[in-house]
Symmetry: C2
Amino acid sequence: MIKREGTVDYALEKSVYVEMRISRLKEKMSANGIDAVIIRKPETAFYFSNFNPVLNSHPAFVVVTLDAEPCLLVHSIRCAHAKEEGALKRVELYGKWGANVPLAGKAADAIRLLVGKEKLCLGMELDDISMDFYQEIQEVLHPDKIVSVSGLVNMMKIIKDEYEISCIRKSARLVDRGVETAIHALERGCSEAEAATEGQYAMRKLWHEKFPDMEVCGFGTSEGGMIDSLHVWCLSNGHIAYGCDCPKHYHPQNGDLTLPMAWAKTGGYHAENERTIIIGELDSYKRRAYDGMLRARESIFNILRPGTAFEDLYRAAAQVYTDYGFGDILPGRVGHGIGCSAHEFPSLAMGNKIALKPGMVITVEPGLMDKGWGGVRHSDTVLITEEGYESLTKYNMGEISIQIRG
Amino acid sequence: MIKREGTVDYALEKSVYVEMRISRLKEKMSANGIDAVIIRKPETAFYFSNFNPVLNSHPAFVVVTLDAEPCLLVHSIRCAHAKEEGALKRVELYGKWGANVPLAGKAADAIRLLVGKEKLCLGMELDDISMDFYQEIQEVLHPDKIVSVSGLVNMMKIIKDEYEISCIRKSARLVDRGVETAIHALERGCSEAEAATEGQYAMRKLWHEKFPDMEVCGFGTSEGGMIDSLHVWCLSNGHIAYGCDCPKHYHPQNGDLTLPMAWAKTGGYHAENERTIIIGELDSYKRRAYDGMLRARESIFNILRPGTAFEDLYRAAAQVYTDYGFGDILPGRVGHGIGCSAHEFPSLAMGNKIALKPGMVITVEPGLMDKGWGGVRHSDTVLITEEGYESLTKYNMGEISIQIRG
């Protein structure tokens, strides 16, 4: 039913899928002897509640025990937001703001009241939970044992459900528009930064037009928030070797490699489209790198289906790059999971023996980066299907050359 | 010298100020018997290195010891970026990417090589360092003691230097433009979301025109990044009670309160301008709240000078709101520090007895929020001076009423 766009009650869908995720978490808790799980990482709290506070200065928690109703615990300042937009029936508060009545002043004390008994086996994402909060929980709850649930949660999130895929499809449409617009702006003689501005503006216009009911917010650090999650940026030549950076007010010229990138997060779910553009004519070295990149992608797409191991995708691309003479500057990975996060578990890298399964969403982006001459990378957001794969981003997957008309 | 805009060598300035910050950190380390400090929080690592990796999937660290050269430790994927744009002379690497040669595969092992001896007293920001990383550091370094330097770092960052203030001034100009543009768009009949889009577009245009050499990037969570830090958003009526959220495709109407907000981060430093707009005519209840808000702000500005305690600012505003009949929905704070972060230490709240000093930059935003009728809040970004204060945001600080012409 999720596929009939425009007819779906998203609020209802969200609740149904969140309920399924909580049920699966509880199964895993039972199987691992875990009595209660406390989630604080914004991306994971969103996964189990569909609540994004946008700002994380006052973090939101999801508290799941084996028997009680799962609870979204937020600071009082987030009360109305959590009650109206979160997908969990039970919302409790900590801290003081306005007329709201919190369970306790501090989150840890509220959690003690929610979890109830002491002497339990507690699960938290220990790659996320700060040392200060860990100690607070220890002092307040005296658990028998604290175990990390990071791996367990990562393995749950690796397969996307229909709701998640429907969001990623929307993000994919937006990033296609963003990159296409940026490329046209570059053709007109815009700087990197100006092209990014035009691409972002076009993405926001498409959001207004096609997906007005979807949020385009991201997650913040502990001291900030990401209120807009539709981004276009662009790097050229040696700057590509930075991997990620603010676009500059540089006007690409003949012989350059320029890399416009669009990232979008719609309804909490990311997609990305990144394209390396040839400006005019490349020298033979860059030309070889570009051709190698297209072949490396082909080698991944050729084996992109259920059953293939993640590291096989890396190996295939690395072999092509080595054959093309770039064996000394191989990337650390050639793609990654994508979903609630821009960069999600797992990596398309050596040592990752997990096999692809239908419902996984990953980026395919075997790239080269070198300060001396620049770099090459196309990135697509791809869904693994029963039969093989479907690229959710669709804008021009091959060679892209432009002439600057400015 | 920092004030002669256009003539300043910012790269040089950055290094000078970073050096001064490191010196002050070392003094505090000596005074507290701390042998080495490891910083990982993106905002603080930036403060001590002027390096923003934008993405934090592979975090950057600043490692400071009493005797050795301070070191920026980054993943190999960030090598070129850190060496060219970071302000620390020494850059070391962990992890494998391309042809770069790292100190070690894991950050903790690289830190052991940097810090050298065991049995030391180690400082980290324990409200940020994850439990997993804490344990890794313990296992690899066997420190005698680990202490939190969060408080010490917060107290250093509370006073801004000239370079920081010059960046915040630029951000303030941008947010003034963003809010003004959004208000004009609302007047033309735009939705909240459309007004935000136009405001953001105008901010980016002004960035191109006035500050092309400044980065407009933010900091990401452990799974993402903020590639664009010029944001405009807008909430109306009951939605204001969310505090922060994605704008909706709602067209404000007569009798509404609408709150366009602009946040900008230029060269790593934030400013914000938030304005509550009266659409047409308010009912008497909202009118009273609006008047109370203006008076509450006045009561803060009246005592905004060196020597006043932060809690006195809260107390002044709370008294006004109580006099206006809103004593039951008082906010938790009426402003906060701002700088590398949107929300920085400290809060303008009860219990904060720190006295204002010249060089502090804070937001002044005593607000009311209530799901029933909405909320009121203007926010300005304000520098404390020797004489009193200077509001860095300047666009229309009083009552703002518009008629929708759409």
